[in-house]
């Protein structure tokens, strides 16, 4: 039986997330847009609102709510601020490998702090050679007594400068086919974040490089089995990362539709609001259609994910569709705004810039098509 309705409890989660976003995030947007910096107030508020705890099991201080609840939260936060949704989605991305592959000691050590926001997480996979195919990465580790030594650099890392706990993928410097994943902590000798990027959008979400120069990591920080790290990165990160981008994209899409409707209802041309014009209605209809289609794809994937079923193709399709749709919606909503769509005072310009960043994050649309095609072939 297919039930396309949210439960009463899920409706309450949405309400709670929306209230949080409107009261705690919205007032900080201007400051984030102007400075381009992470708002520590927002980070603190995210922690207090248990936003990082959603996917962490209850026994480790989390809420154990699963992926549909996470998608709801991301969609609502993304509707208000795509930058904050992006930051939040990557926290979960850094958390997921520990939940899925961590041993009990690692879970006990890291998860409770990550659940409260006392510790912030990210994941280090992408390198200048690319992120969707991490086998091309050049970051290497070698065993040194009881420790591992990591050398290399990671780029385009969201939360690079604020994260305390970083899940890093590296390859065996003697065996190019063997990858391992390590938990690197802020302050470890030989590790430092570097070069903060200036993105066109998602201002208030930090992106930068991670540098490892003879970074010594104790063996207790090896995540999963040595040599099997690619699985850690691909299975945990792939679905959670793309699922997170679906949330960010749906948020932007919703915001574009709402902003376009508001403007079209207020703006008067030829003696009546422009919403009466068929050309405008066509755009509104397309946005609404994309939103509904995107949500169906996204929540179907998250429902599978909650069941523990395979959902990589489903998330690839949802990520492709929603990111493309958000970019289309931002363009259409900006067009509806006419000249105002070029003015920074109007939120639509922020959505336009943010929608640009949705494209490559967690894999470009072209990479998504490769994944989708592979499943069809």
């Amino acid at each position: 039986m297919i039930d396309f309705t949210f439960t009463e409890e899920q409706d309450l989660f949405r309400k709670a997330a929306r209230e949080f976003a409107e009261t705690m995030v919205a007032p900080r947007i201007q400051e984030m847009e102007e400075s381009g910096e992470v708002s520590l107030d927002v980070v603190k508020a995210l922690g207090e609102a248990e936003m990082m705890a959603i996917t962490i099991p209850e026994e480790f201080g989390g809420l154990g709510l699963g992926y549909t609840a996470r998608l709801i939260a991301l969609e609502e936060v993304g509707r208000v601020s795509c930058a904050v949704a992006m930051m939040l989605q990557v926290f979960a991305l850094g958390i997921e490998p520990i939940v899925k592959f961590g041993n009990n000691e690692q879970k006990k050590k890291y998860l409770p702090g990550l659940a409260t926001g006392e510790r912030l997480a990210t994941v280090g996979v992408t390198e200048p050679t690319g992120g969707s195919d991490p086998t091309g990465g050049r970051t290497v580790y070698k065993k040194d007594g009881d420790d591992y030594i990591i050398n290399g650099r990671k780029c385009f890392i969201t939360n690079s400068h604020i994260a305390d706990t970083i899940t890093v993928l590296a390859k065996d410097d003697e065996d190019p086919k063997a990858f391992s994943t390590f938990i690197v902590e802020k302050g470890m000798a030989g590790f430092k974040p570097a070069h903060e990027e200036h993105k066109v959008g998602m201002k208030g979400c930090n992106t930068g490089w991670l540098i490892f120069e003879d970074c010594r990591v104790p063996k207790d920080n090896l995540l999963g089995v040595e040599g099997k790290g690619l699985r850690v990165a691909m299975s945990a990160i792939g679905d959670v990362g793309r699922g997170g981008m679906v949330g960010c994209s749906l948020g932007v899409l919703t915001a574009c539709l709402e902003e376009a409707l508001k403007f079209a209802n207020e703006r008067v041309l030829y003696g009546k609001p422009i919403i009466k014009l068929p050309a405008i209605q066509d755009k509104i209809a397309m946005m609404k259609l994309d939103l509904e289609a995107g949500r169906l794809l996204g929540y179907r994937a998250s429902a599978l994910q909650d069941q523990g079923a395979r959902c990589d193709t489903e998330f690839a399709m949802a990520k492709y569709y929603t990111a493309e749709a958000a970019q289309r919606a931002a363009k259409m909503a900006a067009d509806i705004h006419g000249g105002y769509g070029c003015m920074n005072e109007y939120a639509i310009t922020r959505y336009l810039r943010d929608s640009f960043v949705l494209g490559p994050s967690a894999g470009t649309s072209d990479v998504m098509k490769v994944i989708i095609a592979r499943s069809a072939m």
Binding site: E266, V268, G271, P273
Partner: protein, 335 residues
């Protein structure tokens, strides 16, 4: 069989030994209603050293004044005031009982009504007698006006804000009246104890006596837009008022709200900025001499209720208007 009609009652509220203007206004309206019903107008006044206020109230048209004059009654305390009024009402069986929509009146009136098992309407903007000689209590709601009546129970009670009715004219045929002193109950231990009353000066120009008022609504859009409304008021030396949404947004204090559940004001010049013209607001400003509205929606109901209308987005228009005002003032100074 015609029922004998009881008196019309007005609760006279005093503060620091002065009768509140709203109470005088209700005396005026009460006189009209009493005449129309062919009954008398009675008023209840509680306070400390307030008997001297009787003359004025008689001149306003009161036939009989019940005065409770005691140091215990200096401030409104429900446990003192309410039983006295309820006991007297049970004895006198008033037909109608009008109370000012003040902080104290709004607490006292429903307490009295519930004890008398009667109905009460809130913040009426007009009162009239209908075909059945019932008190028609008119309040704005749902974009129009609704009439409320209380067919069975007595008294028919209503609260009315300051400014809805005019002050009574010069004394008519009821030059003097009868003064009845009320026995003040012995002070008993009360469940609530009034520790202190603190009076505060209102910040900014007060709405009550302002000659010019600028009122803003949801069309200000955000805090920055609201700031422009504030600047406009500053430039015009006007008092600043608002509809409900800016209050809910926290841009302005509740005591700046104009309308049915806020203040009733009568400036010479009113400018409504970014407000749609919901009746709940407009009833508070109908008495203004000249009214201008600025709103981006040409179909907004406000344009049916003002003298001058101007269609524009307030965030875009206000900076231009403010610049023109400054330019005008500079020109005047120079000349």
């Amino acid at each position: 069989m015609a029922r004998e009609i009881g008196p019309v009652w007005v609760f006279v509220e005093q503060c620091g030994g002065n009768v509140l203007p709203v109470s005088y206004e209700l005396v005026g309206k009460g006189r009209e209603l009493a005449d129309e019903l062919g009954t008398s107008l009675e008023a209840v006044l509680l306070g400390d050293s307030v008997t001297g206020l009787a003359g004025e109230l008689f001149r306003g048209g009161v036939d009989r004044l019940y005065v409770g004059d005691d140091v215990l009654l200096k401030y409104y305390q429900p446990e003192m005031y309410v039983p006295m009024i309820v006991d007297l009402a049970r004895e006198r069986k008033p037909e109608i009982f009008l109370v000012g929509s003040t902080a104290c009146g709004k607490e006292l009136a429903p307490l009295v009504a519930a004890r008398l098992k009667t109905g009460i309407s809130a913040h009426c903007i007009d009162l009239a007698l209908d075909g059945n000689r019932l008190l028609e209590q008119i309040i704005p709601a749902y974009g129009g006006l609704i009439s409320i009546v209380c067919p069975e129970m007595r008294p028919q009670m209503a609260t009315i804000a300051k400014g809805v009715f005019a002050l009574p004219g010069p004394a008519g045929r009821h030059g003097t009246g009868e003064l009845v002193e009320l026995a003040v109950p012995q002070a008993e231990p009360m469940k609530t104890e009034l520790l202190e009353v603190v009076y505060e000066e209102a910040a900014g120009l007060t709405l009550d006596s302002a000659a010019t008022i600028v009122a803003g609504g949801a069309g200000a859009k955000d805090a920055a837009g609201w700031r422009m409304v504030e600047v406009l008021a500053d430039e015009l030396g006007a008092a600043l008022g608002a509809t409900r949404p800016p209050v809910d947004e926290g841009w302005i204090e509740l005591d700046r709200m104009i309308g049915q559940s806020g203040k009733m004001v009568t400036p010479d010049f009113y400018i409504g900025v970014g407000l749609s013209g919901e009746l709940q607001h407009m009833v508070g400003i109908v008495g203004a001499k000249l009214m201008v509205a600025i709103n981006n929606d040409p179909k907004a109901p406000v344009f049916d209720q003002v003298d001058y209308g101007l269609v524009d987005d307030c965030q875009e228009f206000l900076p231009v208007l403010i610049a023109k005002i400054r330019q005008f003032k500079q020109g005047k100074t120079a000349a």
